[in-house]
Every structure is written in structure tokens, then in C-alpha cells.
Symmetry: C2
Subunit: 304 residues, 2 copies
């Protein structure tokens, strides 16, 4: 792939920014990559491992001369960072982000974007339970989707250019309206994460079953939940606080359905359970056929 | 390892029985392995791939002369199979099972066991989302736990022999009382499965989000749930119907906790969320340190 941007500034240097840096370098998509993180420790590690070409001491310095700035900080921190960098943005530059929530980011960041700067929110649907500057890897986005969420007046050429970058990093792109994005993600990500966190918390908190029992006997299903529930706490706190309505709506539907299944258990309605469990198998097949997960048993788990 | 049993009869030829056959052969633990499955198709496939040494046309025939009989059928079918084989069991033989629920299996199977035959329930905590005679593999039990649930009057030597077999197949063994087993498994397996089934069912059923959207954008967390929710419907129907009380108790605790977190989201209590999400990370670390899951990001998922 040819170079898409001359200078890309990554604000925040965690899993996503780190993976972007690796992926951009793999394919020569950026002339120079600058980076900034609020934590001195993170900046130190990033410099040490050469995560980006230049680690800067401020967000303002990092964005100077950049034709693409990507905000890779927790959703709750986006507005503050936008205010900080706004005066230092080049005319014609694009500001994007990788936040898991889009309406709240648009409301927090949008007002700070100066005239002549493009603002194109985005969300790569990829991640792992790891976080920090050492957690990124070039393949994270391969064959995953990146949703582009243009705002009113987003420039078509600037959108296409950003999509080229994501495609260059291995992703497939699609465009979506902000509120719909937040609802879809409440289903495919936010509600499942809250549910996993809850189940793991309950297991940890039961007096009658020890933590050792939970840990040793987790291979029967529970351990899958613990992976999700090991995700970054700050990021997820911000997701829930900023996608409140959609998450609560989906959790409401979930609870309703869970009650119906509990009732089927209580009344011994085996047919209801069997039919429900048969239907859910089909969704799994769809995901495998769409190339969004492996068909290897147990995810082809690396032997521990 | 030396041979532990002269003739092992596997009743039911799905994932667990198949994996036992592979594991026993790997280590020469059984002189002969016979097998029977109710479905003619399953018996045909088993014979075709040489899953066991001899596929029999009835459970009665399979258990003749066996010094170990392992019931590998759904929990709801255990009682019927026990009644069928009882008259054909050799004196001194051991009958065991691999059911995910123990109290109900003891109640269903126990009364059929003739004098002079040992009954030693067991439960290997291992599995994948795959089922059927082709799904087994020798490594399934390696480093996983097999819980032995002796009943009143279980013979110590017979218990030790069964534990040797499981250890020979790669498992670690522990002994547990039936009701406690059912509670522990409600936490580490049954409740998580029902929750995963529920979430996948909800996603499938939402008018405002299409199935294609759910499938394509599942990499953000949801796809982990779909693996669990692709497990065998008959097996899981029987699990819930036969571990009703413990499952409903844990689901009750889960719902209570979920409501508390929903309330924290609604009221914007970020500290509560952050603390909760930080605590759940520790459980994941415990599971990895105990060798019950891989530390590779995303389970070291095989690339799709």
C-alpha cells in the first residue's frame, strides 16, 4: 500500500493506538507517526520500544503538522483532549477517534473542532483483554470491521482517505449513523461486557463457593467470561457512562428474556429450553461463515 | 501408563466419550473399549472412524464383561440407560458417568445399580462447543479437573482405580460431595451458559439491529458468548432441568448484582463501576496462574 497520510498523531498509546502504529508501519501507510500519552510511564515505555517515530511531551506538540490526528483515549477523556489540541491543528487536517461510543464523542469533541479541520469519528471493532503500550500488534484489525460515523458536513474525500487508511491496516469499513452505532454496539459489545463483569463479580463474591474452586473449575464455561471481564476498567467505565440509554435498553431486554428462561427452568419446560438453545446455534454459524471467529473448538485455544 | 481396566464400555459416543476413547488409547489405559449410542447414525460414524474397538448394537451387549462402564449420555437419559444395563453388569464392575449434574444422576442411576457393582459418579470439567462422534480428541482432559463424587458406601479401591484412569487421561482429580458439586458448577458453568444463551437469543431477536449487523460486528465481545451458546441443546436442557435449584439461586444473585450495576450506570456512579471492573481482573489472573486458561490475547485465537 502507498502512504495515505504524511504525519499521523496518536493521542493515547494503549492497545488500539499501539496496534495502529504497528499496522501503519507494516504497510507504510504513514510518513511519520507521533504519539502522546498522559502517563509519563506510558510515554517512557513507548519511547523505549520505539512504538512510534516520535513520542512528544504534550498533545499539542504531537498534533503539530499532522494531517491525521487520532484520539485513542477513553471516551470520557476525549472532550478534554480535543480542547487541548484544537488551537494547534493544521488547516485541512482530519481528526478522528477510536472510541466505542459515538454520539457522546461527537458531542464532546465536535464543538472544539476548528473551521477547516475535518472531524470523522470512527470505531474499529477489535480489541483484546490486554491494555497498555506493549499490548498492540499489527494484525489486530485484519478482517475486522471499522465503523466510520460521519457527522453533518463531513467531507467525502476526507472520509474516503480515512477509510483507505483503515483498509490499509487490514480492516473492512462501513459507514453508520451515530445513534444506530451506539445501539448495535450495545448489543454486540457493551451489554455482553457488563454481563460478563457481573457474572465474574458474583462468582468472586459467593461465600459458599471459594475463589479457588471458581478458579480451578473454570474450564466448564466460566473462564470465557473472565477474559472479557479482564478488560480495561477505565475504558469500560466510560463506555457505560456514555452509552447509558442503549446499554440499559438492551440490558432490559436481556433481563426480560432471562426471566422467561428461568421460568422455563422452574416449571420444567424442556421444549422451550431446547428450542431456544437450538436457535442460538445458528448465530454462531453465521459468525464463523462471516469470518469473524475461528471454527476451531474452544477458539483453538493455545494450550496453557 | 499401565492398563487400568481390561474392558471399558462407553455408553453414548459424543464429545466426551470420544475424547475418553482417544485419551485411553493414547496411553494404553484400557484393554478393550466397547461403545454404544442410541442413534444408528452415530454408531455408523463411530464404526467408520474406528472410535472404539467394537461398536455394539445395544447397551446391554456393550457392557457385558466390562470392568468399567461410563455413561456418557445427557443427564436426562442416565436413569433409562442404567435400568437397561443393570441386569448385564458383571459383579465387581464399576459404573461411572460424566454428567454435568451429580445429585440428579445419583438419584436416577443409583437405585438401578445391583449389589456387588460399584457406582462412582464423576464429572470431567472439560468440553468444547462441538458435539457428536467426530468431535473428540485425546488432549481434551489434559490439565483439566475431573471431580469424583463418591456416594455412600463407595469402595475406596474402586474410587482410586477410577481416579487413576482419569489421571492417565491427563486430568487432575478431586473429590466432592454431590450438592456442593452442583452449586460449584452452577457458578462456573451452568449460570454462565444460560446467560450466554440468553444474550445471543436477545441479539437474534432485536428488530432494530439486523442479524447481519450482529454477525459482522461480533468481534467486539459478543462472539465469545456465541461459542458457549453453540453447545449441545439436549445436554444443556437436561443440565438446567436437573440442577434447577442451584442454577436458579446463582441466577438470582446474578440478577441482583446486574440491577446494582445498571443502577450505577443510570445514576452515573463511575467509581462503583471502576472498582467492580478492577476486582474482576484479579479472578482472571488467578485462572491463568492456575493453568486453567491461556494468557495469550483473545485466547490466542486461531486466525479466521
Amino acid at each position: 500500500m502507498a502512504q495515505v497520510y504524511e504525519r499521523v498523531a496518536l493521542i493515547g498509546l494503549g492497545l488500539i493506538a499501539g496496534s495502529m502504529a504497528h499496522a501503519m508501519r507494516r504497510d507504510g501507510l504513514a510518513g511519520e507517526i507521533t504519539g502522546y500519552a498522559r502517563s509519563e510511564e506510558t510515554r517512557k515505555v513507548a519511547a523505549e520500544i520505539g512504538l512510534v517515530d516520535r513520542v512528544c511531551d504534550s498533545a499539542a506538540e504531537a498534533v503539530k503538522g499532522a494531517d491525521l490526528v487520532v484520539l485513542c483515549v477513553p471516551v470520557g477523556a476525549m472532550g478534554g483532549v480535543a480542547a487541548e489540541i484544537a488551537p494547534h491543528l493544521d488547516k485541512g487536517a482530519t481528526v478522528s477517534d477510536v472510541g466505542s461510543v459515538k454520539r457522546a464523542v461527537i458531542e464532546a469533541v465536535g464543538p472544539h473542532i476548528p473551521d477547516g479541520v475535518h472531524f470523522i469519528p470512527a470505531h474499529p471493532l477489535a480489541g483484546t483483554e490486554k491494555s497498555g503500550p506493549r499490548s498492540g500488534f499489527a494484525e489486530l484489525f485484519d478482517n475486522r470491521w471499522c465503523l466510520i460515523v460521519p457527522v453533518d458536513g463531513s467531507d467525502r474525500a476526507a472520509i474516503d482517505r480515512l477509510e483507505s487508511l483503515w483498509q490499509g491496516m487490514g480492516a473492512r469499513t462501513d459507514e453508520m449513523e451515530a445513534d444506530h452505532h451506539d445501539l448495535v454496539l450495545a448489543v454486540t459489545s457493551h451489554a455482553p461486557h457488563l454481563i460478563a463483569y457481573t457474572m465474574v463479580g458474583v462468582a468472586d463474591d459467593l461465600g459458599r463457593v471459594t475463589d479457588t474452586e471458581v478458579v480451578n473449575y473454570s474450564a466448564a464455561g466460566f473462564r470465557d467470561f473472565t477474559r472479557i471481564a479482564a478488560s480495561d476498567p477505565t475504558m469500560w467505565r466510560d463506555v457505560f457512562l456514555n452509552n447509558k440509554d442503549a446499554t440499559l435498553e438492551i440490558l432490559g431486554r436481556f433481563t426480560e428474556e432471562l426471566f422467561a428462561l428461568q421460568r422455563a427452568i422452574r416449571t420444567g419446560d424442556g421444549d422451550h429450553l431446547f428450542d431456544y438453545f437450538t436457535r442460538t446455534r445458528a448465530i454462531r454459524r453465521g459468525i464463523i461463515e462471516a469470518g469473524q471467529d475461528t471454527d476451531a473448538p474452544d477458539f483453538g485455544r493455545v494450550k496453557s
